[in-house]
């Protein structure tokens, strides 16, 4: 899956999702002392603050840091550890991997041989069919988790099936969904993917309830917002799981939450997921590898270790805007999972920032110059 940054500037709708970035930038970075006194040639020629900011961004920036895969340090370069590591590689690729593939295939056979008949034959008995399909999907996800030897510790009360509630979680990889789905069958809102993942999405996930969107379709937002609202009202529907970051982040940071999940007029239940990188880095760097490769990497490592916390449900406080609500929940999740917050919109991975930010800097500069021109 290749995502080259498109040159069109982000639509104004994306801007509405974002609270003021200036509120977040660390005070050292953008805010310089308000220059005083009469304007001199020196002041106009001295572009050093602006240049320093630009060079600072080239050298290090908080946005790119969110999507950096940090590979574990190699530890195998000495006389007794190296053979041990080689032995480990042999076990992982020649013993574990085939066993896991076998187990997964078995799981698929069991799942499909139960799912397809139930789906076709119990067409009339909707409630029974949905219950069985739900359990089957949970079981299948269990098989998936087993295929990477997932060691998942769930903390907090298991999600309950109630109307007017939505679950939000931080996003590191598509396996987030599988890990959560194994415990409770969630309905999910997902970007439509190509290839075999798309096939899965349109067949099996359809049964637990899925809402599709297309990131590049700006008009899509209204349709999606309506579908979300409808889903949440229905008492029979599976609880809805949303990843408000909108993109996979490397599990050390969180990017800004989109407000869509927070303006549905229902309770928001935060879920925090933190992966332990001890055996493998579960971050799916969609710029660097396809999902298939990512899965293969997981299946040839020892285990995927993670913690899942189901946190206290939150409601919109009186006088709070949806954006503030989203940031408050992001705060709760980041705190629980030990992630740092950055003030960027995850969609900047796919498009350029709006010219509004540059214009604000230009406006500050222009106002300062004109004001100082007046001073004697």
């Amino acid at each position: 899956m290749n995502s080259t940054g498109t040159l069109k500037s982000s639509s104004s709708e994306l801007d509405l999702d974002r609270p003021n970035i200036e509120d977040y930038l660390p005070s050292g970075a953008a805010i310089q002392q308000e220059p005083r006194g009469k304007l001199r040639l020196h002041d106009l020629l001295d572009i050093s603050p602006t240049l320093s900011e630009a060079a600072g961004a080239i050298v290090d920036d908080s946005f790119t840091r969110c999507f950096k895969s940090n590979p574990p340090e190699p530890w195998n370069w000495n006389i007794y550890l190296f053979p041990l590591w080689c032995f480990g590689v042999v076990v992982r690729y020649l013993i574990l991997f085939p066993t896991r593939v076998l187990g997964l295939t078995l799981g698929w056979i069991i799942f499909l041989s139960a799912f397809i008949p139930v789906h076709l034959l119990l067409k009339g008995h909707d409630k029974l069919r949905r219950n069985i399909e739900r359990s089957l999907v949970e079981m299948m996800c269990g098989f998936f988790v087993a295929s990477w030897t997932g060691v998942v510790k769930y903390h907090g009360p298991k999600p309950s099936r109630r109307p007017k509630q939505v679950f939000v979680a931080n996003h590191t990889s598509m396996i987030d969904f599988i890990i959560l789905e194994q415990m409770t069958a969630f309905a999910v809102i997902m970007q439509k993917h190509p290839g075999w993942v798309g096939l899965l999405q349109s067949t099996i996930l359809e049964s637990v309830g899925c809402i599709w969107f297309n990131r590049t379709e700006a008009k899509d937002r209204e349709i999606v917002a309506r579908k979300l609202r409808e889903h949440v009202q229905g008492a029979d529907n599976n609880p809805l799981l949303i990843f408000p970051e909108g993109t996979c982040v490397n599990n050390h940071y969180t990017v800004m939450f989109k407000k869509g999940a927070f303006e549905l007029g229902c309770t928001v239940c935060p879920v925090a997921i933190k992966y332990n990188k001890i055996f493998v880095d579960a971050f799916w760097n969609s710029r660097k590898q396809s999902f298939t490769k990512h899965l293969l990497q997981l299946m040839t490592s020892w285990a995927v270790v993670c913690d899942v916390w189901y946190l206290e449900p939150q409601n919109l406080k009186p006088g709070e805007t949806p954006i503030e609500f989203a940031e408050r929940v992001r705060d709760i999740i980041s705190h629980r999972a030990g992630l740092k917050k950055v003030p960027w919109d995850g969609y900047l991975k796919y498009s350029r920032p709006s010219p509004k930010h540059r214009e604000r800097k230009q406006q500050n500069f222009a106002e300062s110059v004109l004001r100082r021109l007046e001073e004697k």
Binding site: T4, G5, L39, R40, L41, H42, D43, L44, L45, D46, I47, S48, P49, T50, L51, S52, E53, A54, A55, G56, A57, I58, V59, D60, D61, S62, F63, T64, K68, S69, P71, E73, P74, R287, W344, L348, R352, P353, H357, R358, E359, K361, Q362, Q363, F365, A366, E367, V369, L370, L373
Partner: protein, 175 residues
């Protein structure tokens, strides 16, 4: 990708350090290399404009297009040499030289009234009219003893900016 220092030999580091006049420590060069490799997505050996423009903080900067012309398609050695002006060890002279180069977009060794207007336009955008910019620039030039048809050289820049020092430092995060 592995740790970058395994791809950069000690000889490479010393060569780069030589090229930037020892303004960066060896550890800083290793960190800059990791950053370079992170930005250069398909290991071409240079960072293209598009890849620089994937840094939102950089795009937001009013002078990004000017800097882009100077830093586009540089190999790692030249990339470090460019950034060396921002090292805390760099002299005021070097920093002013970089500022001069940003103004002198046609590389003819002198900065005209038009060149200064262009930079002012980048910095103020649509929040100042062309007339206002001309007026402001003429006024401050006159007060400093230059006329509108004057060409400023590097020495003039040093004269104007040198006495109060130029604070243009960027820290390389060394982890």
């Amino acid at each position: 990708m592995g740790t970058a220092s395994s791809m950069l030999t000690q000889y490479d580091i010393e060569e780069v350090q030589e090229h930037c006049n020892h303004l960066f420590s060896q550890q800083e060069i290793v960190c800059l290399y990791q950053r370079f490799c992170q930005l250069d997505r398909n290991a071409k050996g240079f960072i293209s404009s598009d890849e620089f423009l994937s840094i939102p903080e950089f795009v937001m900067n009013p002078l990004s297009q000017r800097l882009l012309k100077m830093v586009d398609a540089l190999n790692f050695k030249d990339f470090v040499a460019f950034l060396s002006a921002f090292s805390s060890k760099a002299s005021t002279h070097q920093k002013i030289e970089l500022i001069f180069k940003v103004y002198d977009s046609d590389h003819n060794g002198k900065v005209s009234f038009k060149d200064m207007l262009e930079v002012l336009k980048d910095l103020s955008g649509s929040y100042m009219s062309d007339e206002q910019r001309e007026e402001v620039l003429s006024q401050v030039l006159k007060e400093a003893g230059y006329s509108k048809d004057c060409y400023l050289t590097l020495d003039d820049f040093i004269k104007v900016l040198g006495h109060s020092g130029v604070k243009m430092d960027v820290e390389v995060p060394v982890d």
